[in-house]
Amino acid sequence: MATAVADEAGKRQSPLSDAVVVRFAGDSGDGMQLTGGQFTLSSALAGNDFATFPDFPAEIRAPQGTLFGVSAFQINFGSSAIDTAGDAPDVLVAMNPAALKTNVPQLKQGGLIIADEGEFNDRNLAKAKYDANPLDDGSLAKWQLLKLNISQLTMDAVKPFGLGNKEALRCKNMWTLGLSLWMFDRDRQPLIDWLNAKFAKDPNLAAANVAALNAGHAYGETAELAGPLKQHHVDPAPVAPGLYRTLTGAEGIALGLVAGAQLAKLPMFFGGYPITPASAILHHLSRLKEYDVTTFQAEDEIAAICSAIGASYGGSLGVTSSSGPGIALKGEAMGLAIMTELPLVIVNSQRGGPSTGLPTKTEQSDLYQAVYGRNGDAPMPVIAARSPGDAFECAIEAVRIAVQYMTPVMLLTDGYIANAAEPWAVPDLTAYEAFPVEFLTEVPEGGFKPYGRDEKLARPWVKPGTPGLLHRIGGIEKEVDTGHINYAPGNHQTMTDIRKAKVDGVKVPDQVVELGAEGGKLAVVGWGSTFGPIHQAVRRQRAQGADVSHIHIRHIWPLPANLGQLLKSYDKVIVPEMNTGQLKTVLRDQYLVDAKPVNKVSGQPFTIAEIEAAIEDALP
C-alpha cells in the first residue's frame, strides 16, 4: 500500500520476512470474503500494514463443493510497507477439497495448510476430482499439513445455542477466524463487538458466532498440537500518526466523486446500470443524497450515459460508470459529449475481456478502448488509478479536468482495485483547492457564442432556463463560434483541430520517478493497479544493486509533457501490463521509444517475482 508510509525508498528497505500472506479459501457459501474482511480489520488494529485480494467466482451460488465455486480471500500483512496482496501464501486455510485443489499450487514451499478434514468426504473429493484423499496420501508432503475437523469442532462449540445443522455449520468461518487470530496474536474483542452489532436482532445467533470464534481461538491456545501450529506475532508497521480507515477502490471512487463535485460546487447526477465489478460505485453513491447526489439506475448502459450527459447539459456534474462491455455500449454517447463539449466523468472498472470475458477477474485491457475506442477523431482525457486511496485522488482530478475543459473524462480502475482494501490515511479536505464552476448567465461583451472559447479552448457552459442565451446543440458538426450546423470542409478541419488541441492542452503534472533515478539502465513503466508488484520488485532489485527505476503513469491521455524525454533517458524500458501490450503501443507511437512488453492476462495480478524476473531478463 502506498499512502501510510513516507514514500522514500530508504525507509522501505526492511526485509520482507516480517510479512505474512494468508489465504482463506472455501466454498462460495462459506463466508470467506467476510472472514477475510474481518481479519483485515484486525490486522489494521494490530498496526500492520496490509493489502488484500478477494478472488471470487462469477456465479452467485455455484454448486456446493465444485472447483469453480471456490471463493478465496488473500491478505498480506506485515511490519514493513506492503504494496501487494503477496505472491505465494504462507498459510492456506482450505475449507473443502475444491478449495485445497485450486489454491495449494500457489502455497509457498514449506507453507502451512489448515484443512477442514470434516469436509474431505467421498462426495466432496469426487466433486473436486480427487481420486484419493490428499490429506492421507502423502501428496501434500512439501507443505506442512494441519488437519482439523473444523465442521465438527464448530458444531460442538455452538451446540448450546440450539441452531439447526445448516446454521450451525455457517459458524465455521468464525471458528476459523478465531484460530487465525490466535495464530497471529490478535485481539478478539473488536470482532466480538462487530458480531454482536451485526446480529443485534438475533442475540442467540450472535452468541453462537462469538462462541465459535472463541472456540477456534481456544483451540489454538490449549490444544496440544504436535504439528506446525504456533503463535506468530507480527510487529506493527511504522506508519505516520493520524486517522486511518480501510478503503476499497469503489469507496475511493465514490467519495472522490462527491469531493470533486463539492470542489466544483455542483450537484452530482450519477446514471448507472448494474455490472460487475462497477456496481459498488452506484451502491455507495445511492446512499449519499444529503451531498446533493442524484442516482439513477437506467434501463441500459446507453441510457445511463445519455442521462448523465442530459444532466450535465442541465448544469449538474454528470457521471456514469461501467465495465468493459458497458463502456463499449456507451461509445456513441461519448462521441456526442465530445462534440457538444459537455463535462462528464466515465468510470471504467476494467475486468477480463473481450465480450463477457472474466466478470469477476481483473485486467487492464481497456486502455485502447479508453484512448482510441470511438468513431471519428474523438480525443478524450484518460486517467488511471493505482490503488483504492489513489482512486479518491483520481476521481477529484477527473472532475476538475471535465469541468475546466468542458470534456468527458475517462477514469480507469479495475476489478482488483475496486474490491481490494487498503489502510487509508483520511485526508484533510481543506487541503484541496476548490475549482468552482462559473456558468454563463448573460450575454458577454461581443455577443454570445455557444462555441466561443476561453484560453483553455473550453466553451461556455450555459444552463437551459437562462434567458437571453437560447441555443441549440447536437452531434452534427458545429460551426466555429456559433455552433450552428456546418458541413463545410474547412470548418470541419478547424473544429477537429480545436477538439484535438483542447485535449492535448489539458495541463497534467510532470511525470515523476516513483523509485530510483531519472535516467539509467532500465525503467519499469506501469499504470493502474500494477503499482504494488512493480514497486516491490524494483525495490528488491535495487536493494541487490540493480540499476532500475519505477515510473507509474496516472495521466494516460494526454501524457505528461516530460514523459518522452524521461523515457529516453534510460537504456531500456519495459512495460508490465495485464493485457497484451496496450500502454506499450501508445508509448512507442508517441515517443518512438523501444518499450518492451511484459504481459499477463490470467485474470490474476502480477506477482512480485514475475516482475523481478522481467527486470533480471532486461538487465544484462
Partner: protein, 345 residues
C-alpha cells in the same frame, strides 16, 4: 408542464422561430407540425428559455434547430434518456421530445418504453410516417405488411408496431393522436402539455418523397368526417356527421360501429368518451382503421405522480436531518488512530 412553466409569458409565433433555414423536403408534413407547435406555444403561455426540445436522429429530429428555445439534437433513439437526466437535474424545465417511428420505436423503443413507464413529465411527439426518410426510404417498424422499399424489394413481411398501443401498454397515462395538417393538432398539443407526466402523441406525418399519401385513406379532407373519429371528453363517440357512432358489443366484449337514427345516439348505445377509462382506451388504440374510423384526439388522460417528483421527494426525505459533512463521511466506518504508541480504535 410544471410550476415554473405556468409563469405567464406573452409571446407570438415569431418568438418561437429560429433564424435557421428549415431543411426538410418541400411539401414534407414536418413543416405543418413545426408551424402547429410554434402556433401552440404562445397559447400555452410558457417561456422560450424555459423550454427544451430534445430529439434523436432522423428527419423529425432536426426539429430543435428550428425552435427558438433550448435544444439538444442527440443520438439515434436515445432522446428519452437525455430528457430524463435533464429533467432530474432541473425539474423546472418544460421538455418536449421529438422522435419518429424508427427513432422512437425501433432503435430507441427500449428508452421510449422506460420513459413512459417511469412517467417523466414531458411531451413525446412521435412523428409516424411509416418509413425511414433520412436513410432514403427503407421500411420502418410501423410500415404496413407488404411495403416495398430498397431493403424490402419483395415487400416487408413483419407486422407493424402500433405506437399508441405500445405507449398504453408501457403504462402511459396520456395517449393522443393527430396528423400533420390537421387543424385540431394544436388542441392535442395543448392537452398534452396540460397533462402532468409523460404525454405521448402519435402524429401521422406525410413523407412526400418515400411514402407519399400513405395516410390519405383517413386524412384526406374529402369525406374526412366519415373516416375520422375526433374524441372529446364527455361527448358521445360520433362521426359521419352524427349518423354513426362507436358502441360496445357487450357479448363479444369489443367495440362495434352503430348507425345513429335521428340523432338518438343513446338509443344506439354510443359510448360517451371518458378520457380516464383505461379499458376503453385499450380498445380505442386497437381499433382497426377500415372497419372503424381512425380514432384521433385525446384517447386517454389520467395523470398520476411523476418520476422526477418522486425522485426529488425521496432525495429530500433521505437527506432530511443529515448534514453534508464530507470530512465526517470520510471518517465513517472502521477507523483507527495511529499515535506514537501504536494504533487504537
Amino acid at each position: 408542464m410544471n410550476e415554473m412553466t405556468t409563469i405567464a409569458r406573452t409571446t407570438t409565433l415569431k418568438d418561437w422561430e429560429t433564424d435557421q433555414e428549415v431543411r426538410w423536403c418541400p411539401g414534407c408534413g414536418d413543416y405543418a407540425i413545426l408551424k402547429a407547435v410554434q402556433r401552440t406555444m404562445p397559447e400555452i403561455g410558457t417561456a422560450p428559455e424555459n423550454t427544451v426540445f430534445i430529439s434523436g436522429i432522423g428527419c423529425s429530429s432536426r426539429f430543435p434547430y428550428y425552435m427558438e428555445t433550448y435544444g439538444f439534437h442527440t443520438i439515434h433513439g436515445r432522446a428519452p434518456a437525455f430528457a430524463t437526466g435533464l429533467k432530474l437535474a432541473n425539474p423546472g424545465l418544460d421538455i418536449w421530445i421529438v422522435t419518429g417511428d424508427g427513432d422512437g420505436l425501433s432503435i430507441g423503443g427500449n428508452h421510449t418504453m422506460h420513459l413512459i413507464r417511469r412517467n417523466l413529465d414531458c411531451q413525446i411527439m412521435l412523428f409516424n410516417n411509416e418509413i425511414y426518410g433520412l436513410t432514403k426510404g427503407q421500411y420502418s417498424p410501423t410500415s404496413r405488411v407488404g411495403t416495398t422499399s430498397p431493403s424490402t424489394p419483395y415487400g416487408s413481411v413483419d407486422r407493424p408496431a402500433q405506437p399508441a398501443a405500445f405507449a398504453l401498454g408501457a403504462g402511459a397515462r396520456f395517449v393522443a393522436r393527430g396528423f400533420d395538417v390537421s387543424k385540431e393538432l394544436p388542441n392535442v398539443l395543448k392537452a398534452a402539455h396540460a397533462h402532468k407526466g409523460a404525454a405521448f402523441i402519435e402524429i401521422f406525418q406525410n413523407c412526400i418523397v418515400y411514402n407519399k399519401d400513405v395516410f390519405e385513406d383517413f386524412a384526406a379532407p374529402k369525406g374526412a368526417e366519415d373516416r375520422q373519429l375526433w374524441l372529446k371528453q364527455g361527448e358521445p363517440m360520433l362521426y359521419a356527421k352524427g349518423t354513426k357512432g362507436i358502441a360496445l358489443d357487450a357479448e363479444a366484449l369489443h367495440l362495434k360501429t352503430v348507425d345513429v337514427v335521428d340523432g338518438d345516439w343513446e338509443a344506439a348505445g354510443v359510448i360517451v368518451h371518458d378520457v380516464t377509462n383505461r379499458s376503453v382506451a385499450h380498445m380505442l388504440v386497437e381499433m382497426r382503421f377500415g372497419e372503424f374510423p381512425m380514432a384521433l384526439g385525446v384517447l386517454y388522460d389520467d395523470p398520476r405522480p411523476t418520476f422526477e417528483a418522486d425522485v426529488v421527494r425521496q432525495n429530500k426525505a433521505a437527506a432530511e436531518g443529515k448534514k453534508a459533512d464530507l470530512q465526517g463521511l470520510l471518517k465513517k466506518g472502521q477507523t483507527w488512530t495511529v499515535t506514537e504508541g501504536g494504533p487504537e480504535l
